[in-house]
């Protein structure tokens, strides 16, 4: 059977399309999502299909429209909010964190918030300091939220569908630089469980954990390591909160070495949390300190060479893996 290949942006669109067809309460709002078909064309055709009642262009008013969406989720609807990028969601973070995440708890279990906040996160070329930040760790810090950050079209579709069906508020991180990526996505219904990591490549010498577009860096590093007869195991987190640390610990029991690749700033990053969980649950199995490869501890500059120096890349991951193997 030949597999169907589609782009990441179309995987996102299909997930929204199928879930909107399935459930009348699901609707989409955001800047340029309707008439412009999405700033990155991830909602192409949805206005034509579902009309302006369910595919809604907003003014540039992130705090306002995110709050309206949360309010509608408190009262029976299941909104999908697209942020043009997560950088702009900083204006809305009060409604995401103080309202959506805390609603169920504050109301003593009465008022839930089934809502998905989605959009691209992270660097995307030379966009400088205000358009390049990653936010997985920011939202993963918040009890009440779930955080998903898929690395390929299949996962994006299957996890977005799961997120839309989930009864809790979900933060869903995509990437401008992955919207054009193609991957196999079979026709018809696909779902993946939230909170489960994926063993993307089996190996025995060192475990590399990553997520979102940094998975490409992880895979490229594993290929490089293979040339030097180092057999890397690669884990794709898929979900950031809840974090599937048992899968990581199981892998470390086999490889005894761990490298985490994470685009975000190092301080308080997902890599930090994984390092804590692994030392706690796998201390006796570690043969070397956990290594991490993060973005530089500075705002993203504009110049191309400084960005290269800033971002994780396969060479830095190879270096970290070899350091963990004491083979430098």
């Amino acid at each position: 059977m030949s597999e169907r290949v589609i782009a990441y942006r179309d995987a996102i669109k299909e997930a929204m399309d199928e879930e909107m067809a399935r459930d009348e309460r699901v609707y989409l709002m955001g800047e340029e999502v309707a008439e412009y078909n999405g700033a990155y064309k991830a909602s192409k055709g949805l206005l034509d299909k579902y009309g302006p009642k369910r595919v809604i262009d907003t003014p540039i008013a992130e705090l306002g429209f995110a709050g309206v969406a949360v309010g509608s989720a408190m009262n029976g609807l299941r909104p999908i909010v697209e942020f043009m990028t997560w950088n702009f969601a900083l204006l809305a973070i009060d409604q995401v964190v103080n309202a959506a995440a805390k609603m169920l708890s504050m109301s003593g279990g009465q008022v839930g918030c089934p809502i998905v906040f989605r959009g691209p996160s992270g660097s995307a070329g030379q966009l400088a300091a205000q358009h390049s930040q990653t936010f997985e760790n920011w939202y993963a810090n918040v009890p009440g939220l779930k955080v998903i950050s898929p690395s390929n079209p299949y996962d994006a579709k299957a996890l977005l569908k799961a997120a839309i069906r989930d009864d809790d508020p979900v933060v869903f991180m995509e990437s401008e630089q992955m919207y054009g990526d193609k991957g196999e996505v079979p026709e018809g219904e696909i779902l993946l469980p939230i909170g489960k990591a994926h063993m993307a490549r089996q190996g025995k010498d060192v475990t590399i954990v990553s997520f979102n577009k940094m998975m490409k860096v992880a895979h490229a590093a594993a290929d490089e390591l293979a040339k030097e007869h180092i057999d890397a195991e690669v884990i794709d987190l898929r979900t950031i909160r809840p974090l599937d640390y048992p899968t990581i610990v199981e892998s470390v029991k086999k490889t005894n070495r761990l490298v985490v690749v994470d685009e975000s700033w190092p301080y308080g990053s997902i890599a930090s949390e994984i390092a804590f969980q692994v030392q706690k649950h796998g201390f006796d199995y570690l043969d070397a300190p956990v290594k991490r490869v993060n973005g530089a501890d500075v705002p993203m500059p504009y110049a191309a060479n400084l960005i290269e120096a800033y971002l994780p890349n396969p060479a830095r991951v190879v270096q970290a893996a070899k350091a963990a193997l004491y083979r430098l």
Binding site: E31, E32, Y36, A61, F88, P266, Y302, A304, L306
Partner: protein, 330 residues
């Protein structure tokens, strides 16, 4: 204030400045994709706004705007070379290759950026004015924003504060009719954007942004009000961008006829016509100005080409004032 009679010098200044902005950006547009990357938002069509501001504002007044900032930077006197080098990401750029197109700055030239988060510069502009008042100067802050930015809540919070605290600020909406693909009419019932000042009793006015004389007059009046009475003003300058939102926007949300309609009232051509009409200069003189401007643009490109990229060590500078800040290295 009484209407100012504009002189030959005013017109020739406007003509040269607007032409510099136009030719500089045409070149930047050509270089985009090979030498210049990232987001690049062109100002072409809106030049009369900056030209009118420059002749109307005081010598110590300050300016802040959004990411469509090449015109403001050139107007405020940042050299074309320093702007072009910044677009290239070179160390000789006006922010050392750190900020790029969206974040041009020059503190000495009283240009405080170049901001990428839509609407975020509105409170910052009021804050710059706050500091002027606090320090007892009579300087004014001119705070620019797009028509899309006026839908941010920060505008309302800031307008209320600026009026209540009597801050010497002039809020200037450059209404080019679109925020990316969204027309003004699709974002609100209130499409006369200057009326947004009314809820706070802020003086407000609509201005023809294709006519540099109108822009000058409105900004001069507003600066005077801010300077002498500490009363903010909201100006809605009606203008138009000929190009797409950024380099990747095919601008299918508007008609070719609409663009043509504005090109017919091009602000530079209007000034050229007045100069010739009034005999302030002949065609040969205007051609000389054009030649001079093109040479400046050529030089700016050459300067950018010849300049080095920032050394990698620049990654760990300019983040803190503290020189020996202990960055996390792994």
């Amino acid at each position: 204030m009484a209407k100012k009679a504009f002189s030959k010098a005013d017109y020739l200044y406007w003509f040269e400045l607007m032409l510099l902005m136009r030719r500089f950006e045409e070149r930047a547009g050509q270089l985009y994709g090979t030498k210049i990357r990232g987001f690049c938002h062109l100002y072409i069509g809106q030049e009369a706004v900056v030209a009118g501001m420059m002749s109307a504002m005081g010598p110590n007044d300050k300016v802040i705007t959004a990411y469509r900032d090449h015109g403001h930077a050139l107007g405020m006197g940042i050299s074309p070379g320093a702007v072009m080098a910044e677009l290239y990401g070179k160390i000789t750029g006006c922010t050392k290759g750190k900020g790029g197109s969206m974040h041009l700055f020059d503190k000495e030239k009283r240009f405080l950026g170049g901001h990428g988060i839509v609407g975020a510069q509105i409170p910052l502009g009021a804050g710059i004015a706050f500091a002027e008042k606090y320090q007892g100067t009579d300087n004014v802050c001119l705070c620019f924003m797009g028509d899309g930015a006026v839908r941010q809540g920060a505008l309302h919070e800031t307008f209320n504060i600026a009026m209540t605290w009597k801050l010497p600020v002039v809020f200037i909406i450059e209404n080019n009719m679109y925020a990316m693909g969204t027309s003004v009419a699709r974002t609100s019932n209130v499409t006369d954007l200057h009326r947004l000042g009314q809820a706070y009793d802020m003086p407000n006015q609509a201005v023809d942004g294709m006519k540099v004389e109108s822009v000058h007059q409105a900004i001069a009046d507003a600066c005077n009000r801010a300077r002498t009475e500490q009363i903010p003003t909201l100006l809605e300058i009606k203008t138009y961008r000929y190009k797409g939102h950024s380099m990747s926007d095919p601008a299918k949300y508007r008609t070719r006829e609409e663009v043509e309609e504005y090109r017919r009232i091009d602000p530079i051509e209007q000034v050229r016509a007045t100069i010739l009409d009034k005999g302030y200069a002949n065609q040969a003189t205007l051609d000389d100005i054009e030649t001079k401007v093109l040479a400046q643009v050529d030089e700016s490109v050459q300067f950018a080409e010849d300049s080095p990229y920032p050394p990698d060590s620049e990654l760990y500078t300019d983040v803190y004032m503290q020189a020996d800040y202990p960055y996390l290295q792994d």
